[in-house]
């Protein structure tokens, strides 16, 4: 396994072991990216796919998403899995505000991205969750398959490892 791809640093072999040369920021980002705890948050059918992604078959724990937390204070990432209606928007905002920094947002599926099938002729739906909170990664699909959500999660990890741009 190529160490440089997973861990940001170089090992300089010396007699009796070696010296690891790296940057602290990069190590912190690497650690963060490999332990992202999602918030239990789902407002419609995307949540079913999200649960499936968490389940045994797709098992997002393999990538460090480990356990979903039922409180925003213990969560690092919120996956907006479903439609956000006008009545839900202040709740979503409050949940996001209660999450501790650093925090990340994934907009899962068409509804969370743009309102999706509820874009036209609807009185109750927010046309994209990014009207309420900032989004890091968008996932296409209605609902997206678990593979698509996993891809989004891995994309988010890459974004975190790359550091703030």
């Amino acid at each position: 396994m190529d160490v440089s791809k997973s861990f940001p640093g170089e090992v300089h072999p010396t007699a009796g072991g070696g010296v690891l040369v790296t940057k602290l920021d990069e190590v912190i980002n690497w650690a963060r990216s490999n332990s992202l705890w999602p918030l239990v948050f789902g407002t419609s059918c995307c949540a079913i796919e999200m649960m499936s992604t968490a389940g045994a078959k797709y098992d997002w724990s393999r990538f460090g998403f480990e356990v979903a937390r039922a409180t925003p204070r213990q969560a690092d990432v919120i996956i907006i899995a479903g439609t956000i209606v006008n009545k839900m928007a202040p709740v979503l905002k409050r949940l996001y505000d209660q999450m501790a920094d650093p925090k990340y947002v994934i907009a899962m599926g068409a509804c969370a991205t743009s309102g999706g099938p509820f874009f036209y002729n609807t009185y109750s739906v927010v046309k994209g969750a990014d009207h309420v909170i900032p989004v890091d990664v968008y996932v296409a699909g209605c609902p997206p398959r678990p593979e698509a959500l996993l891809h989004a999660l891995i994309t988010l990890q890459e974004q975190i490892r790359r550091g703030p741009s």
Binding site: N86, Y120, Y123
Partner: protein
């Protein structure tokens, strides 16, 4: 009990009953003004014993509004649909919350989204929409220029 047998029994209890054909279940049409008496008969008459109201619907047909009640009996295992045609400009029908308690919430929903007024309802106020909301969102001619993008 099959549809025909239920029809015969309903005719015994309510001689003036009018049926509609073509549905999955036995369907009867009622005059909204007679709903209170009919509802109590359906609920308490032992041969009918409709003890479970499993769906309350309001449908906007543009020219009128139709209230649809789905009833079933857990004793006799028969199901009945009751329809009542209401005036669209002022849809009013008597509540059945005192006959089937579940109607309390169902009727609030119909009031909230369709603007049907249920006389005698113990707590008729908005359910999904905010209290200050104006209009009936599920009506066919509903318009909300602020929140709606028209296509």
């Amino acid at each position: 009990m099959n549809k025909e047998e239920l029809k015969i029994r309903l005719t015994e209890v309510l001689p003036t009953v009018v049926f509609e054909e073509g549905g999955e279940w036995t369907t009867m049409i009622i005059d909204p003004a007679a709903w209170e008496g009919v509802a109590k008969e359906l609920r308490w008459e032992g041969r009918l014993d409709f003890d479970y109201l499993f769906c309350v619907t309001a449908a906007d047909w543009k020219t009128h509004i139709v209230m649809v009640y789905h009833l079933t009996s857990t004793v006799h295992r028969h199901t009945l649909v009751v329809k009542a045609k209401l005036d669209r400009d002022r849809p009013v029908i008597r509540t059945v919350a005192d006959v089937w308690r579940t109607a309390e919430f169902h009727e609030r929903e119909a009031f909230d989204l369709m603007g049907v007024e249920f006389t005698g309802h113990p707590d008729l106020r908005r359910l999904f929409m905010t209290d200050e909301w104006v209009g009936w969102p599920l009506r066919k001619d509903y318009d909300d220029p602020v929140n709606m993008i028209k296509l």
